[in-house]
């Protein structure tokens, strides 16, 4: 079967890949580009572990076809830290013990960053509803919510 050639930008890097039309962006990231920080928890958009940004919009990469990202810009967890400098969200997830097994963590971080990029001062309720599409089975969400609130406060300079 003929593969489709796709030109895109991933974490600021111009990237090309070949994919079969039915391969999802998640399949491409993980299996073709070995960007395995983006996780697959369900493949149906119900867990958020595969969250990425496409042209600045938070999506589940399992619900995007590979060919759809032609010409688009994608941000994944691998692009979140700048060199050795962790994003404040990443740092607060560590300091506030907001992860246990850690498999949902990349998705939560990408989603939380998308929230703080548009709303630097969210309420607890806003954080909880924004992150309702990211399932975590370990933490009961308590420390995740606190980490996001604490990172937001730090980023606001509060």
């Amino acid at each position: 079967m003929a593969k489709t050639h796709v030109t895109t930008t991933i974490n600021g890097e111009p990237t090309e890949f070949l994919c079969e039309p039915q391969q999802t962006l998640l399949d491409v990231l993980r299996d073709e580009l070995q960007l395995t920080g983006t996780k697959e928890g369900c493949g149906s958009g119900d867990c958020g572990a595969c969250s990425v940004m496409v042209d600045g919009r938070l999506v589940c990469s399992c619900l995007v076809l590979g060919p759809e990202v032609e010409g688009r810009s994608i941000d994944t967890i691998e692009g979140m830290a700048h060199g050795e400098q962790l994003h404040p969200l990443q740092r607060h997830f560590l300091e506030d013990a907001a992860l246990q097994c850690g498999v949902c963590t990349p998705g939560f971080l990408v989603a939380a960053k998308a929230l703080l990029d548009r709303n630097p001062d969210p309420t607890e309720t806003e954080v909880r509803f924004w992150l309702a599409g990211n399932l975590c089975r370990c933490t009961g969400y308590d420390k995740i919510i606190r980490a996001v609130m604490n990172a937001a406060a730090e980023m606001r300079g509060a």
Binding site: S51, R57, C60, L65, F129, A132, G133
Partner: protein, 289 residues
């Protein structure tokens, strides 16, 4: 695995041409949040997907004079960010924003929500209550259908081979109008509606309801426009007696099923409860409270 072809045309005519010419199952890809799940599970095995997100007309939200235009590839998140429509039809926007998670919102479209033809689709009762119409393009040109006539049964819609929904025309609300959509789900997010109710109404200066539309979701094979429910509140000031009549009319219209998401008895009861609650919100909005 048979091959899947992906096309991303730049015009409605090209999209219609691709859909009409293809021998076999061809599907429109807007947000893809239903389609990709169906592809993965093997429930659908289309030979062609037509991505409509490169068609400018379908990406547009605009004030078109006597109505608002919401293109068929506009995502729920984009609709939710549109302040003018949000002010005019808060219920429509809230309903669209209830579909799935933030991530789903970024992709899913009200058009896809309608065309997927789930009786539980959240945006559909709100669109019906608002009196929205669909513009449908096909090999024989364009036609319009009221939203309530698009769904024909679970997974079945009124589109013929080669047709696609280009977008919605949502009327400008009359003065002193309000709308609301409420749904019942077991959790607070991420569920399919067990029952959904959309209400749009207009009041006069004295607070009497002069016009109303009430639509129910997930209680029948398709979303329902319930005339008797509207009649129950037209002419009232939404007093308890009118709300009781509304509750009863909503329940009477239900033809639900028992399934993993709810029972006949539960769905019927909840349809009445949510109709009352949604009507009160719409009424308060119409009165500017």
């Amino acid at each position: 695995m048979t091959g899947l072809e992906y096309q991303a045309p730049a015009s409605v005519d090209d999209a219609v041409g691709l859909l009409a010419r293809f021998q076999g199952d061809a599907r429109v890809l807007a947000g893809g949040t239903d389609l990709l799940v169906q592809l993965r599970s093997g429930r659908l095995k289309p030979g062609l997907v037509v991505d409509v997100k490169h068609i400018p007309e379908m990406r547009e939200i605009k004030d078109a004079g006597d109505h608002f235009w919401v293109g068929g590839a506009v995502s729920c998140a984009e609709l939710g960010e549109h302040e003018v429509i949000g002010a005019a039809w808060p219920g429509v926007v809230e309903a669209s924003e209830l579909i799935g998670s933030t991530q789903i919102q970024g992709r899913a479209t009200p058009t896809g929500n309608l065309c997927n033809a789930s009786p539980a689709a959240d945006s559909v009762p709100a669109m019906i209550a608002a009196g929205a119409r669909c513009v449908i393009a096909g090999p024989d040109g364009r036609r319009e259908l009221p939203v309530e006539q698009v769904q024909k049964g679970p997974g079945k819609n009124a589109l013929a081979k080669g047709e696609l929904v280009v977008g919605f025309k949502i009327p400008k609300p009359a003065a002193h109008s309000g709308d609301a959509y409420l749904r019942l789900i077991p959790r607070t997010e991420m569920d399919i509606a067990v029952v959904g109710v959309g209400v749009a109404l207009t009041v006069d200066a004295g607070g009497t309801v002069t016009a109303a539309r009430v639509a129910l979701g997930a209680v029948a094979p398709t979303a329902l426009l319930v005339g008797d429910a509207a009649k129950a509140i037209i002419g009232s000031k939404l007093d308890d007696a009118a709300l009781e009549k509304l509750d009863a009319a909503a329940r009477a219209a239900c033809k639900p099923i028992d399934d993993k998401r709810g029972t006949v008895a539960y769905r019927t009861k909840i349809a009445g409860v949510l109709a009352r609650r949604a009507a009160k919100i719409a009424y308060d909005r119409a009165r500017g409270r």
